[in-house]
Amino acid sequence: MTDQQQPGIDPALWRGLTQSRTSRRGFLRAAGVGAGALSLSSILAACGTAGVSTSSAAANGVGSAEWWSQQTETKTLNYANWPYYIDTAHGKHPSIDQFQQQTGITVDYTEPINDNTSFFTKIRPDLQAGNYIGYDVIVLTNSDPPLSEMIGFGWAVPLDQSRMTNFYKYASPLVKDPAWDPGNIHTMAWQSGYTCIGYNTKYITEDITSIQSLFDPKYKGKIGMMGISTELGSAGLLAIGVDPAASTPDDWTKAAEMLTQQKPLVRSYYDQDYIKALKNEDIWISMVWSGDVFQAANYQGYDTLKAVIPQEGSMFWTDNQLIPVGVQNPVAAMEFMDYVYDPKVQALIEDYNAYVCPVPASKSIIANQLKDPTVADSPTVFPDAQMVSRSKPYYQFKNSQDLDQWNSTFQPIYTG
């Protein structure tokens, strides 16, 4: 434990939580092989998809100090985030309004991302062609392949380090210099969070303490699981008592067997829409993302909903803001990404979304100025030692065969 780490947190654990996931060299090598293979002259082959070339943003000078010095501030910003992720009051976002007033930049904040992979698959052709994808900032999770693929393929513009004042001053050690993006060259975290268990105390009166409750036959037809390969697989691994980060393909098969047996009990496999089913009482217990349930219970009147981190632990992830290539408003993007690291601004956002806060200094502002001890004292917003010890990192895919094997083990459970 060093003085730079949060008290009570083992640095080895932080490293474990935040290790880099896929080797960049591996990507590039595979890309090269792909590009070579494409020289086949067959008409049919010409109909295929081109592999990723190795010409990265950096190679074209995009994101270099010289490139950044040529950029000027534009007065619009197109920001793509996940739903339920920003402070909302009367249909407006106070933190964004404040930014617009301060800078005169009009922010078009949209919520098109429900799932990393499918969002990435949609923007991918434009990224590959170097087109503007319509967003200046997007938010991707470190637990799924797209983030490391964006960085590995050179589709994430290197950030202007001189415009990260708030970040370097206030960011938590948890998100500063993370192993998935050493030196914060490409990303600044938006929030972190847990994939844990949420349930409705109106129907479930016992205290839920174990992930085994998701496999309990007495909740048949009222159980929600996530139809997201990394999430579902990790939940299965936790349920069979295996640490996902250290798991082997044999463990995956066992976990998949357990999940397949559970299938008759499951109502549906969800992505972000699980929260609607939980609110509608179509399901009573579900895999959830920690902040969603907190918001539903505290701000939206669903006060019988509760989220718990079970004794087996919960998957811990971080969502990261990054600038995709083809960006049209890079300076505005930098300004907004850094703006959210102002502790007062972050307090506004955090007090609403209640995920894991990337700015520790916001805690006292939430407690004293916003007078919201529920959020300020929540161990899942400002994690205590016990929470941290229950935080589990995701498995890291070594190469595409590894990823294929994981997907072919877990995807048939929810698509068949």
Binding site: A37, R124, G221, Y269
Partner: protein, 302 residues
């Protein structure tokens, strides 16, 4: 006179030849937009799909190369056999349900209603709202503790554990509802076309109303019924929205699998192979259909 003709012909020959050329080219010129349309939006995607289905791709770089890897076909047919069967059964059930609902309505509009256009418009107006929004509305209406089911449960008309969502019934109902216009319009056209004098003749020949219906109206409406069946069944079999929103773990349709393979797994060969199999199934179905019915009647209505 006969001698004059060649002279005349000789005189007018250049313009005539010109005209003839224009005449012979005109079908192609008129067809050009359709040909370009078909080439760009049908032939190229189709060839791409067929080609991708026998390629091998790297799941991270998405570099694909043609390997003539036909093994994907038996592979996916084996693995998704149940899903294919389920999709066809759901689509068939939904089509029959839509026909049962649409037939009396269109019959009434075609034969009895005074303001046909008004009622036809009334039938179609709900479908001006986005497909997904209407389906999500059903999701909210039919929620386990939603207005309808919670009322029924409070009245003890259905058991507490009763639910509609996440059952095959919900998916089939959603499909039947969403594709209703595709069923109703061809039916209406067929019924509207029936010559009223034929009906009168049947009555003159002492046919009762029922006999007139079964022996005159129904046979004349058959091409419309078949057209409606095709237009509803084909898109319903490939639909994924209804099953995704209204369905559960045991109602997965082939469209959902294809969507997942394309967008989530980025497994283009498997997705293409699945699409190809679906396409072939549909083509075989339609060919059988055309043989049974004769292709002319289908052309008239589809």
């Amino acid at each position: 006179m006969e001698q004059h003709v060649p002279a005349d012909l000789h005189g007018v020959e250049p313009p005539r030849r010109h005209r003839r050329l224009g005449r012979s080219a005109s079908p192609y010129l008129l067809g050009a937009p359709a040909i370009v349309w078909l080439a760009v939006f049908f032939v190229i995607p189709l060839v791409t799909m067929l080609s991708l289905s026998i390629q091998t791709c790297d799941s991270i770089t998405l570099a694909c190369k043609l390997t003539w890897h036909f093994a994907e076909f038996p592979n996916i047919i084996g693995r998704y056999n149940d899903t294919f069967v389920r999709s066809l059964v759901y689509a068939g059930a939904a089509t029959v349900a839509a026909l049962v609902v649409a037939f009396p309505v269109t019959y009434w509009i075609a034969f009895r209603a005074k303001r046909k256009n008004f009622f036809l418009l009334m039938l179609l107006v709900p479908f001006f709202v986005s497909f997904v929004i209407r389906t999500t509305a059903w999701y909210t209406l039919l929620a386990d503790q939603g207005t309808i089911l919670s009322t029924l449960k409070n009245l003890h008309l259905v058991p507490e554990s009763f639910h509609v969502l996440a059952t095959p019934l919900a998916v089939i109902g959603g499909l039947a509802y969403n594709y209703l216009p595709f069923t109703a319009l061809p039916l209406y056209v067929a019924l509207e076309r029936i010559d009223r004098r034929v009906m009168e003749a049947s009555h003159d020949l002492y046919a009762t109303r029922r006999v007139a219906f079964t022996h005159v109206v129904l046979p004349l409406a058959v091409p419309g019924i078949f057209a409606a069946f095709l237009l509803t069944f084909v898109p319903a079999a490939g639909d994924y929205v209804n099953a995704a929103i209204l369905g559960g773990t045991n109602t997965v349709m082939i469209g959902q699998v294809i969507q997942n393979k394309f967008l989530e797994a980025a497994d283009y060969p498997a997705a293409s192979a699945l699409s190809t199999v679906l396409l072939v199934l549909m083509l075989v179905g339609i060919a059988a259909y055309a043989k049974f019915l004769g292709s002319r009647t289908i052309e008239e209505y589809v």
